[in-house]
Symmetry: C2
Subunit: 387 residues, 2 copies
C-alpha cells in the first residue's frame, strides 16, 4: 500500500501488531505488517535479548517497541522498590485474593513470596524507563510507542534525531490533542472495546473524532485500535480515514502466542459479551476475559481495587500461580484464569499461525474494499453532488 | 444504490432515520433515505395523525414505524393503568427527584399531577401495541420495527402478508439469532455507543459478529446502528457487510428537530465523552447526555432506579417540566435538561437541515469509498492471494 505511513516505515500493509511475544512481532513484520514488542514488564537485560532475537529474524524489516513512561503513579521517581510497595498493600486486599484462591482449591501461602512473579516494576519509574529506551536505541527500531500519557519532550526529540517514529495511545479526543501538541507522529486511537487498558469511547466514534481533532497537524497519522480482529474491520477504520490499524487481542489465540492453553481455549469459545472492563488487575480499567476472578472483584462487598501499581503488585503473582496451575489442568485455576482481551474475542474462533492471520487480514481487507466499491453506482455520487 | 435491501424498500440510499419527529421522517424519505417514525409514547389517535401527515408529504415514497412490543414489564397484559402504576413508585424515589428539582430552583409540587406528561403508556401492554399496529396497517408503511425483543409470530406473519418488511433491534449476537429464528427480515445491530436503550458490545464488533451469526439465513439484512452520524462511518459499516445504517442521534440537532433548544445547544457543544449510560430515565440502561440529572442518579447514596415502566412514570413528568422551564431560560432547568443521544454527539457540531444531513452523508460516503478504493494498489491483493 503506497500510503505516507507505509512509506515512512517501509511496510507493505499498515497492520500493527502489539504483542509481548517476540515470535508474533517477528512474524508480523516478516509477513508485511509492523510488529511492536510490548516491553512493559521486561527489565533492560531481557529487553536486549528480545530485541536481538527479533532483529536476527526480520532481515532488516522494520519493527518497534511499546513502553510505558508513567506520569501519575505511586512510586514514581522515588527509590521505593517492589518490596517496599508490597508493604503498602492493605491486609484486606491480600485476604480477599487469598480467599478467592482458597475457594478454588489453590494454596495461597506462597503467592507473595516472589516465587511467582519475577517481573521488574522499575520500568514504572522514569529512571527505569530511561534505561529501557537506552537499550532500545541500540537496536534498529523504527517506532517507539508510549502506552500511557504524553511522551516527554526529551524522548520525542531523541527518537526523532535517530529517525524513529514516535507513537502514543489515546482513548480520548482530549489526550489526542495533547499528544499532537507534544509532537507525536502516530496516534493510536483505542476504543473502549479494546483489550487491556481502555477508555469508554467506542472505536467507531473515537477514530473520526480524533482525526477531526488533529486535522491541522499535517504530519500526524492516526491508527485505529479497539475490537479489530479482521480485515473487514481494518477496511472500516480506513474508510473513516485511519492510516492503519493496531491490533493486540487477535494474536493471543495464534499458535505462536504464549497464552496459557486454558485461556486460549476460553478465548476461542468466547463471544464478545464474555469480556468485562474492570480495575481488578492493574488498578486502572482494563478489558479482560470474564472469569471467576472478575466475577469476584465485581461482586457486592468486594474491596475497591488499589491504585496502580499496588493492584498489580497484589494480583500479578496470584494470576501467575493461577496460570501455572491452569496449564497443569487444575480445575479451580481454570475457572479463575483469564487475560486482557478486547470484545473482538467474539471474532477469534480458530487457532491459526500469525502469518495466516496477517494473510487473512489482507484478503479480507481487499474483499471488503471491493464489496464497498461495488456499492458506488451512478446514483450516489450524482445525488451527493446536489448537496 | 442497487442492493437487495434498497430494491426491496424502493430507496436510493440505505440510510435509515429513526425519529419521533414526523418532519425528520418525511424529509429523510424525500431525500432518498428511509424515515422511521418512533411511535413509542403515542396513542392510536395521535399515531393516525402523524402517519397521515407523513403520508401526505412523501408522494408515495417509503417510510416505516418503530413500536415497542413488550415482553417483560410490570403491567404487561394487566388492566393496570398509569394511575395505578403511579401508586407503585416508592416515596424515596419521588423525594429524590423532588429534591433534585428543588435544589435547582424548580417547584416540584405539581410534577406528578398529570400536568406535564400526557403520554399514554398503554402501548406498553400487548393490547395497546395491537391497537397501534391496527392503525399503522391503515397507512402504506413499508417497514415495521420492534424496538425491544422478538416480534410475536402473529405480527410477523400479518406484516408479511401485507408486504411489510419486519425489523428488530438487537444489541447482542444471542438476540440476533433469536430474531432470525423468528423470521425477522432486517436486524438493526445497535452498539453500546448508541443513544437511548443500548447494550455493551460496540458497533465495530457487534456488526461483524451479528452478520456472521445469521449468515445461514439467506434473506436477512443487517443494519448497523450506534454512534453513526457521518457518511464515512456508514461506509465503514458497509465495508464490514452491513446493508445500511440506522441513525437516531444525528437528527436531534437538525433545524426540524423538536429537541429543546437548551439541549440542542448542549449537544452541539458536546464531545463523545459527554454521554453516560444510565438507568435513570427508563429503568433500563440508556445512553444520554450527561447533565445534573445523570450526575445526581450516579452519585453515592442515590436510590437504585426502578424497573421499567415505573422509572419512566416517575421521571418523564419531571423531565417534561425541566424541558419546559429550560426552554424559557430557567438556569437550574438548563443544568438538568438532557436527552437520549449516542457518543456520536461529538461529531454533531453544526445545526443543519435534515436534507443537508442526508446529502452530507451521501457525499461523505462516496468520498470514503473512493479513499478506501485508492488504497488497493497491486501489492495487497497480490500478497493476499498467497494466503
Amino acid at each position: 500500500m503506497n500510503s505516507r505511513l507505509c512509506r515512512k516505515l517501509g511496510i507493505e500493509f499498515p497492520l500493527f501488531a502489539f504483542s509481548h511475544c517476540r515470535d508474533v512481532v517477528a512474524e508480523v513484520t516478516n509477513a508485511g505488517g509492523f510488529g511492536v514488542l510490548g516491553a512493559v514488564g521486561l527489565n533492560p537485560e531481557k529487553l536486549a535479548v528480545e530485541l536481538n532475537w527479533i532483529n536476527e529474524r526480520v532481515n532488516g524489516k522494520p519493527f518497534g517497541i511499546d513502553l510505558l513512561i508513567p506520569q501519575n503513579m505511586v512510586g514514581k521517581d522515588s527509590d521505593s522498590d517492589d518490596a517496599e510497595l508490597q508493604g503498602s498493600v492493605p491486609e484486606e486486599h491480600r485476604k480477599f485474593v487469598a480467599n478467592l484462591l482458597e475457594r478454588h482449591g489453590i494454596d495461597s501461602s506462597d503467592v507473595w513470596t516472589g516465587k511467582y512473579d519475577d517481573r521488574d516494576s522499575s520500568f514504572m519509574r522514569e529512571s527505569g524507563a530511561a534505561k529501557m529506551l537506552e537499550i532500545a536505541f541500540q537496536y534498529p527500531i523504527k517506532m517507539f510507542v508510549n502506552a500511557l500519557g504524553v511522551p516527554p519532550a526529551s524522548i520525542i526529540s531523541e527518537a526523532h534525531s535517530r529517525g524513529i517514529v514516535v507513537g502514543a495511545l489515546t482513548g480520548s479526543r482530549r489526550h489526542a490533542v495533547k499528544h499532537a501538541q507534544a509532537g507525536v507522529d502516530v496516534l493510536v486511537a483505542a476504543g473502549g472495546e479494546a483489550g487491556g487498558h481502555c477508555g469508554e469511547i467506542s472505536t467507531m466514534v473515537l477514530v473520526p473524532e480524533v482525526i477531526e481533532a488533529v486535522q491541522d497537524y499535517d504530519n500526524i497519522d492516526v491508527l485505529a485500535a479497539g475490537g479489530i480482529a479482521t480485515g473487514r474491520q481494518m477496511a472500516a477504520c480506513m474508510a473513516m480515514g485511519a492510516a492503519g490499524v493496531w491490533c493486540g487481542s487477535v494474536w493471543l489465540t495464534t499458535t505462536e502466542a504464549e497464552t496459557t492453553p486454558a485461556v486460549k481455549e476460553k478465548m476461542l469459545k468466547a463471544f464478545s459479551a464474555n469480556t468485562v472492563r474492570s480495575r481488578s488487575r492493574t488498578g486502572k480499567p482494563t478489558r479482560q476475559l470474564q472469569s471467576a476472578w472478575s466475577d469476584a472483584w465485581g461482586a457486592k462487598g468486594a474491596p475497591d481495587p488499589l491504585p496502580m501499581p499496588l493492584q498489580g503488585i497484589l494480583t500479578r503473582p496470584a494470576m501467575a500461580k493461577v496460570d501455572k496451575l491452569a496449564e497443569a489442568g487444575h480445575e479451580g485455576a481454570k475457572q479463575i484464569a483469564a487475560y486482557f482481551v478486547g470484545q473482538c474475542v467474539g471474532l477469534m474462533n480458530t487457532e491459526q499461525s500469525v502469518r495466516s492471520v496477517v494473510y487473512d487480514f489482507m484478503k479480507d481487507y481487499a474483499e471488503a474494499v471491493e464489496r464497498l466499491s461495488a456499492t458506488l453506482g451512478d446514483q450516489v455520487p450524482a445525488v451527493a453532488h446536489h448537496g
